[in-house]
């Protein structure tokens, strides 16, 4: 028998008892809507993580100054003045390292006119912008000569700009950081929140030498708190970690068997874990939602069983007219399939609409992807076939005469 007339018959059969068909579909509809919505929310979360990762910069390392051990008491990282600007310059020569910048962080009050704002000030080199893939929204960066000369120049993050300048253009203006005036050379492009929720735009960059000598002062000449590095590529990351460690040990003249006086930390690995967690969460949400799809499928099976019983006489007539067992089975399978697919179609709209509503009302990021819709469709079709098979088979195995006499 041909699929065409069977499909139209399946469609007619569904139309014959509209309220029942609708209620049967509702299970699938809600299941699919739940899957689509959950996947949309999951994808939204994943995308924001991905954006955060992208804003942080890719393939990142942090080299933290040592954890000094004094008489068996180990202090936290960053407390030993073991890293220098020269270390950063030397490490950048490695082929596996794309860019490297020293950082001396601190906090300072920054004042412009009647406004003042407390923010974190990072003493660094122009390479920092490269490491973090951070561009300027206005002005120009300070350069190596500023670092050499320890000039009082600054780049302002967007949050700082907003709080000090409002709508005014800060480039070329002079702000006071601590007690000294600094020339604003440029403003940094907005980066948004980091993964741990910190506002990355609430920062001011100044030359590392200025920070060391003029702003914070450093009890150890030329030392910095940590270095940030970007590996040349994702593949080069393990090699970069090895080589940086080797070179630093060499530069710090550490004998074999002596602990490192620094810590190399792979930030991307941390970030990847975060991304992985989000992905797992989104999959789990989808999996939980698909349980409701399963329940919808059982609803279809239930109604199809009722339908087979109700239409036993019709099955008998069809048998008398020459329907083979396979024809009867296919007919009821198609009916189950039509029910689940139409339910699925409604569910996709409901789910996508619900997701968009949720994002509008609850302000959570949602992304409805084609793949999630396709997946929901395939699962719904699978549910229709799987749960339709038992009733369809029951119909196919009816004895023609018994079916005909049933009425």
């Amino acid at each position: 028998m041909m699929i065409g007339p069977m499909l139209s018959e399946a469609w007619q059969a569904m139309g014959a008892n509209r309220p029942r068909a609708f209620l049967t579909m509702l299970g699938t509809t809600i299941g699919v809507a739940a899957v689509v919505m959950m996947l949309a929310v999951g994808q939204g979360a994943q995308d924001s993580v991905d954006r955060a990762i992208a804003s942080m910069g890719r393939n990142l390392f942090v080299v933290l100054a040592g954890s000094p051990t004094a008489n068996g008491v180990r202090l936290g990282t960053g407390n030993a003045p073991t890293l220098t600007v020269a270390d950063a310059q030397a490490l950048e020569e490695l082929s596996t390292v794309g860019a490297m910048a020293p950082i001396l962080p601190g906090a300072a009050q920054i004042v412009y006119g009647a406004h003042n704002w407390s923010t974190s000030v990072l003493g660094t080199t122009p390479r920092f912008l490269d490491v973090r893939s951070w561009s300027l929204s206005a002005g120009s960066p300070f350069d190596d000569s500023d670092v050499r000369g320890a000039t009082r120049v600054a780049l302002l993050g967007q949050t700082v700009v907003k709080n000090l300048f409002g709508d005014e253009d800060p480039v070329g203006k002079t702000v006071r950081i601590g007690k000294s005036p600094y020339l604003v050379m440029g403003t940094l492009a907005a980066k948004g929140q980091s993964l741990d929720g910190k506002d990355q735009d609430d920062a001011v960059l100044i030359p590392v030498t200025t920070a060391q000598r003029k702003l914070f002062g450093s009890q150890f000449q030329g030392s910095v708190r940590f270095l940030v590095a970007r590996a040349a590529s994702a593949e080069a990351m393990p090699a970069a970690e090895r080589e940086m460690t080797r070179l630093l040990r060499q530069r710090h003249r550490l004998a074999d068997g002596v602990d490192n006086d620094f810590t190399v930390r792979n930030l991307t690995a941390l970030v990847n874990t975060a991304a992985e967690t989000t992905r797992t969460m989104s999959l789990m949400l989808g999996a939980i939602a698909s349980i409701s799809l399963l329940v919808g499928g059982i609803g279809i099976m239930n109604i199809m069983l009722v339908s087979v019983t109700e239409r036993t006489g019709e099955i008998g007539i069809r048998c008398a007219l020459g329907a083979r067992a396979g024809d009867i089975r296919l007919q009821f399978l198609l009916e189950a399939l039509v029910l689940s697919l139409v339910g699925c179609l409604l569910g996709v709209f409901l789910g996508a609409g619900g997701a968009l509503l949720a994002s509008a009302v609850a302000r959570i990021a949602v992304v409805v992807t084609l793949s999630s819709v396709l997946m929901a469709f395939l699962v719904a079709a699978g549910v229709g076939i799987f749960f339709g098979f038992y009733p369809a088979n029951k119909a196919a195995l009816l004895k023609p005469m018994a079916a005909l006499r049933y009425q």
Binding site: M1, M2, G4, P5, M6, E9, Q12, A13, A16, G313, E314, G316, I317, R318, C319, A320, L321, G322, A323, R324, A325, G326, D327, K399, P400, M401, L404, Q407
Partner: protein
């Protein structure tokens, strides 16, 4: 070499299994029905007429004996082969018409063609022609409950004829019809028999209907009690 009869039943028996043991319905039925015969089967209720019809129509299997259809042993055919036989060679007409209530008359008539794998345009064409032939060409898009019982039975006959069967089995085709429409339906069957040589086997309670047949088989208690030419004059003289 003689042509095999359309139907040859040899020592055919049928019993139904119940909890109280087997209940015999047909006992040692021997019956030959040749090409282009018009046979009426009569008998009291419970005499096994409908069971015999369902076995003849390959809707049910006998318990004992053999059933040769056009010389072929039906007992060895598979379910699907039997379905093919019902589809292409046998046409059914039932007392309750048995049309699909949601399908139009055209779709009802065309349904056997669907199972025969005939394409859509040819299905529609042939179904339309067949409906015209039974005088319902104007009702192709109607639903079964929109026409009268006699018309529904004519649709059922059109459906039975659509695949050009060699045998029509009619199980009390006039049982639900008044006298006038009964006559129309029987006349239609008789014409098919005479003009196209289709073998017709008809179960009826109505002696007037049976009188139109060429041959009359009486079943009593699952056995053939009488098998001979239908007696028109006897039926005509019957006091009523």
């Amino acid at each position: 070499m003689s042509v095999a009869p359309v139907i040859r039943l040899t020592h055919l028996g049928k019993h139904y299994e119940t909890r109280a043991g087997p209940v015999p319905v047909l006992k040692d039925v021997n019956l030959d029905i040749g090409h282009a015969e018009f046979v009426a089967i009569m008998g009291p209720s419970g005499s096994g007429k409908s069971t015999l019809m369902s076995i003849l129509g390959c809707l049910d299997a006998q318990s004992d004996g053999t059933y040769l259809f056009e010389g072929r042993d039906v007992g060895v055919l598979s379910r699907d082969q039997l379905a093919g036989l019902r589809n292409r060679v046998i046409g059914f007409v039932f007392q309750g018409f048995h049309l699909l209530p949601r399908a139009t008359l055209l779709d009802n008539v065309a349904l056997p063609l669907v199972y025969a794998g005939v394409g859509k345009s040819e299905r529609r064409l042939r179904a339309r022609q067949m409906l015209e032939r039974v005088g319902l060409g104007a009702h192709t898009a109607s639903l079964p409950d929109q026409i009268s019982g006699g018309q529904q039975q004519r649709v059922a006959i059109a459906r039975a004829l659509i695949n050009r069967p060699s045998l029509i089995l009619a199980d009390e085709p006039t049982g639900n019809l008044d006298t006038r429409t009964s006559q129309e339906v029987v006349e239609l069957l008789r014409r098919l028999n005479v003009e196209e040589g289709i073998t017709v086997v008809l179960v009826t309670h109505d002696p007037g209907v049976a009188a139109d047949a060429k041959r009359l088989v009486h079943l009593v208690d699952g056995q053939v009690a009488h098998d001979g030419p239908a007696l028109r004059r006897v039926a005509g003289r019957r006091p009523s």
